[in-house]
């Protein structure tokens, strides 16, 4: 079962190389690879839930010299989300790019992105994390620049520079860790690291770099242009998965490896920045005229919710209350991943139909594409955090943890954020009611609408109603 770990990296990589070498057969290659990778991810999730943590040493070299891959509950869940989102988006992308030349350029980069995501989520040491982080950034930038127009290339270039800056700061932190402790392996470090200047500086540098990459307010400036000008499938994956990967790293470092170093003050800094992200991101989403910019700012806001958990987790002693809160954090992240991906796909359908994504001129298109509009509605419900979405459960845990620790401010921010999200979601949905005739068949563009519907349904119904296993899986720690 531990071999699934290396298969998870090898399958998409092999697919990427094959798609590069055989451009004319690239679409079938990608289909096979996507399904295979998803099956492996599912196997891994099952294996982790049955056997607990898994680890695999590449080439048989022991930890310290070799690269080790590790999987626990958190990484298995994120890997499954990655697989499902990437699979659905691949189906969508096959129809979105109608020119074969576009597809041939797209597929190798796409699979490379998937490879780097898997590798990042499985990495067991700090330097491998750096390498996969860079790989992720480079493939994401290349995909984002496929939009072609000047705005897209400019946004991609800014994204690249910001990403490089972030990675370099992360690397600086990694080198300090090695200088101080002589090891880079995550589980060894967790036992060895102590509250001293070397560790603090290293953690600060790594966190700063990661916050740049996860677009936490006020370092979010690069995200809206990049996500808004990229092609729809790319935006979906950028918002749903790529920024989540950087967040996953912050989570790992702060909750697992450097847990003893985290002070209430530091956690509060993250919480306050998260609060700023929620308010500012939701406000900008409300004020914008374009759907894609709205979705991008919504990502900024939703990531803020995830950071609100940090001061709460810091204040809660280990026990059932803390476990519930951690599970709430994870289910919130998973729900956002599915919902945002589905939302971007639906917006892409609208953009293809009428050539633009202006909210004011949405009327006719929204009413002629009921399935797409319904996908947007489902995604919106998950973003607001209304039941039965998984986000509702996450918000409940967030508010419960706030009451349990007496940190009331976060409740106000959460409620304000939800109401603002309701405002910008229903502003869009209002255009679905009008005087255009209802089409005879609700689903008109099957290959593109079904992935959007399924992804958002996962967020709203799948995680909302069947989300209890998330908490069980999170018990399987690293």
């Amino acid at each position: 079962m531990a071999e699934t770990l290396i298969w998870l990296v090898a399958v998409p990589l092999a697919g990427a190389v094959a798609a590069l070498l055989l451009p004319r057969q690239s679409t079938p290659i990608v289909s096979v690879t996507a399904v295979a990778a998803s099956l492996v991810a599912g196997t891994l999730l099952y294996a982790v839930s049955e056997q607990g943590r898994l680890s695999y040493e590449i080439g048989g070299w022991s930890a310290g010299l070799g690269i080790s891959l590790r999987a626990d509950g958190l990484s298995a869940l994120l890997l499954m989300m990655t697989a499902l989102v990437a699979l659905a988006t691949s189906v969508y992308a096959a129809a979105y790019f109608n020119k074969a030349a576009d597809r041939a350029r797209f597929w190798p980069l796409w699979l490379l992105l998937w490879t780097s995501l898997n590798a990042l989520l499985l990495s067991g040491d700090l330097f491998n994390l750096y390498v996969t982080l860079e790989l992720l950034g480079l493939s994401a930038v290349a995909l984002a620049s496929l939009g072609g127009k000047t705005a897209a290339v400019q946004a991609a270039l800014r994204y690249l520079l910001v990403g490089l800056l972030g990675s370099m700061m992360f690397l600086a932190g990694v080198s300090l860790i090695y200088a101080g402790y002589g090891t880079l392996d995550l589980s060894t470090l967790a036992g060895v690291v102590a509250a001293e200047p070397v560790a603090w500086t290293a953690l600060a540098l790594m966190t700063a770099g990661l916050l740049l990459k996860t677009a936490l307010f006020p370092l979010h400036f690069w995200l809206p242009p990049a996500h808004a000008s990229a092609p729809a499938p790319v935006s979906a994956v950028l918002s749903a998965l790529v920024v989540k990967a950087a967040f996953y790293l912050v989570l790992r470092l702060w909750l697992d490896v450097f847990a003893d170093l985290v002070t209430p003050a530091a956690a509060n800094v993250l919480g306050i920045l998260g609060a700023g992200a929620i308010i500012w991101g939701s406000w900008r989403a409300l004020r914008t005229e374009r759907l894609k910019v709205l979705a991008a700012y919504s990502t900024v806001a939703q990531l803020g919710y995830l950071f609100l958990f940090f001061p709460l987790l810091q204040a809660l002693p280990p026990g059932p209350a803390r476990d519930s809160a951690v599970g709430g954090l994870v289910i919130l992240a998973l729900t956002h991943g599915f919902a945002k991906a589905g939302l971007f796909l639906a917006i892409g359908i609208i953009q293809q139909r009428c050539g633009h994504d202006n909210i004011r001129e949405l009327d006719g298109t929204a009413q002629r594409l009921p399935a797409t509009t319904f996908a947007i509605a489902l995604g919106g419900v998950a973003l607001i955090g209304l039941p039965p979405s998984g986000a509702f459960l996450g918000k409940w845990q967030l508010i419960a943890a706030s009451f349990a620790t007496g940190q009331w401010l976060w409740i106000l921010v959460t409620i304000a954020g939800s109401l603002l999200a309701a405002a910008y979601v229903f502003r869009v949905l209002g255009h679905a009611f009008g005087h255009q005739p209802y089409p005879q068949r609700p689903v008109t563009m099957a290959r593109e609408e079904w992935p959007a519907l399924i992804l958002t349904a996962m967020a709203v119904l799948g995680l909302g109603l069947a989300g209890a296993p998330v908490w069980d899986l999170m018990e399987i720690g690293a």
Binding site: L65, F127, S145, L161, L165, M168
Partner: protein, 95 residues
Amino acid sequence: MLTAHWLYVMTGCLIVALGLRTALLHTLLLHRLIGINVMGAGVFLVLITVAYRGPGLAPDPVPHALVLTGIVVAVSATALALALARRLTAEQDHG
């Protein structure tokens, strides 16, 4: 020996700081890119210094491997940035 060790590490940190300053404060793309590369050079210097284990002992190979990987990554990233910059200039000339 310890003093030389720390001197190298401090120099590395200084180089990182200088590179960071350029990357943040300059507006020209090429300057920022060079700044990031300089940051990388500083980090590599720190890593190589850390490899020293004492007189007569073989140095720690792990940081060497890290530096080599890091150089490759930095070069690829710089190449991508330059390619994008060229595309951008081409777009702006045509548009």
